[in-house]
Symmetry: C2
Subunit: 190 residues, 2 copies
């Protein structure tokens, strides 16, 4: 039996939740995967939901941190490019956490669920404001900005389903192509 740090527990929990789902993973299985006794595991974490919350909250915070770091005095096209690149990087570099975030956040209980919902809305607002600014400047031709935000985030989010960090397609190449497609979608005449 090993001593483990909280970050190791979270990493393995992220792998198991991502592979078998939150409801499909028991604390017993997590203990086994970590080679830890239950008592020792419970000395680090109160409950399975605490792990789910930490994984999802960490992921939401990283998305938000990146969005907040994008300068607002660059062009709307540059803002969308930077927001999109950061989004793809976060997913591609944290596939397990991203999978848990996208599949399992609905299982958080009400107050935590609402906090993640608020963070998601704050995050989406960065995309909203960039697109809105582009529309005001005449660069983007969008009549429903909310739907355009959904469209952009949808195209980016799905990456967690198929991207292989060790595969032939580099993250850089993926980002370059996707950003070009997104900017074409936003700038095209209706």
């Amino acid at each position: 039996m090993k001593m483990r740090h909280k970050t190791e527990i979270l990493t393995i929990a992220g792998e198991l939740f991502s592979e078998r789902g939150y409801h499909g993973t028991s604390m017993r299985e997590l203990g086994r995967a970590l080679d830890m006794k239950s008592a020792s595991l419970y000395s680090h974490v109160k409950s399975k939901e605490e792990l789910l919350w930490e994984i999802i909250n960490h992921t939401a915070n990283r998305f938000l941190e990146h969005a907040r770091s994008v300068p607002v005095d660059i062009s709307p096209e540059q803002q969308i490019a930077s927001l999109s690149r950061g989004h793809l990087e976060l997913i591609a570099q944290n596939l397990h956490y991203a999978t848990v975030f996208f599949h399992e956040w609905k299982y958080l209980e009400a107050p935590l669920h609402d906090r993640i919902k608020a963070q998601s809305e704050e995050y989406e607002a960065f995309f909203y404001r960039a697109i809105e600014q582009g529309v005001q400047q005449g660069a983007f031709h969008i009549t429903d900005i909310h739907l355009a935000v959904r469209f952009v985030l949808s195209s980016l989010n799905w990456t967690y389903q198929w991207f292989e960090p060790e595969g032939d397609l580099s993250l850089e190449r993926l980002a370059e192509h996707y950003i070009a497609l997104i900017l074409n979608a936003l700038t095209g005449e209706p």
Copy 2:
């Protein structure tokens, strides 16, 4: 205890698998949700995996049937519009099955998993050929058709995560906006 038809069993299994995941749902829970005794449930279905297979195979077949019904003698733009509209309709009208399809198909065992993979590839080829035709005719400006197919399908697939059939946004309006964004993405100058 009730008598149930296979389709009812599949519908409830789709709901439970979609809400709690395949691994998070037991046959015992399914029996309870159906108000059926285990023996009676097992007289209809061999195993939980049989249910997963039927839900996923049914969904894959419906996607394929629609793609095969799109005429190939219409313009590439019209083909993409029709393929996209059908895709959105199938998701929006079958949210539980779509969720199970997207989240759980990886849990199928090897021969079944490979069959769905082959069907998915056959399906994606309809999008590929339409985009390729558009490139050849000079209507679409795409240098990596595979990535463009992924982009288009990603933007469409994600709909299962948020679309509310009874909500304010109609499927028709969603399809109209998304198709315009997709066609702009494909036709825009690089």
